[in-house]
């Protein structure tokens, strides 16, 4: 079974600064997806960024980028130019490569990000 570990229960960053959230995972599979989700107090899970394991290039989405180290099974999220609206719980998640019926997500325990004005 796959496991996802987030070792930072809480992080804080000054507005406009950069912060990195850590995630490690364990799997025996060679093909899979990794995700970062944001969960504000409204509870809705919002997809921030996605990485396919077979792609060596790190994914980026505007101010959000990842550092994917497949051999080390590490998947960190970097948020640049932090904004007040980035404050939320952030979850790292793993999904096995799609095989038409097995796309469930395995989540870490989350990191609460606070933005300091």
């Amino acid at each position: 079974a796959q496991t996802v570990t987030q070792s930072q229960p809480e992080m804080s960053v000054q507005e406009a600064e950069t912060v990195t959230l850590s995630c490690t995972y364990d799997t025996s599979e060679s093909d899979y997806y990794l995700f970062w989700y944001k969960q504000p107090p409204s509870r809705q899970m919002i997809l921030v960024i996605r990485q396919e394991a077979y792609k060596q290039q790190n994914a980026t989405e505007n101010r959000f980028s990842v550092n994917f180290q497949k051999a080390a099974k590490s998947f960190s999220l970097k948020i640049s130019d932090s904004q007040l609206g980035d404050a939320a719980m952030y979850f790292c998640a793993y999904r096995t490569f799609p095989n038409f019926g097995n796309e469930k997500l395995t989540f870490g325990t989350g990191t609460r990000l606070t933005i300091i004005p």
């Binding site: 509870r43 997809l47 019926g101 796309e103 997500l105 325990t109 989350g110």
Partner: protein, 114 residues
């Protein structure tokens, strides 16, 4: 609808009561997932539907938990004889098709068992 809709948003029940939680998926979304999120934890998978077929229920914690999706659209998660450890947020997520598609989440139902 425009997004995944879950109801009720909050549910309070006494221990031993039965509860039913509803998920209205985005129109046309084939795959539907239920997750349980305990306080301070990440969501954990409960069960998965592809249209009306329940293909994976390995995450259901006990036989008190039952889910259905009879017409391949709306899904209901039922918990019988609720216990305090059932208190959690229950999230529903759907996918338009199969394979490489992102999951769209609802706002969840917060269930509190007294």
């Amino acid at each position: 609808g425009a997004g995944v809709s879950q109801s009720p948003r909050y549910k309070v029940a006494k221990r031993g009561q039965d509860v039913a939680l509803r998920c209205d998926p985005i129109s046309g979304h084939v795959s539907l997932f239920w997750y349980q999120q305990a306080l301070g934890q990440g969501p954990e998978f409960l069960t998965y539907f592809q249209n009306e077929a329940q293909l994976d229920k390995s995450g259901l914690p006990s036989d008190r938990f039952f889910a259905e999706r009879p017409e391949g659209s709306v899904s209901t998660l039922k918990i019988q004889r609720t216990q305090q450890e059932d208190s959690a947020v229950y999230l529903c997520a759907t996918i338009r098709g199969l394979g490489n598609q992102p999951q769209h989440f609802g706002d969840g139902t917060r269930l509190s068992i007294l």
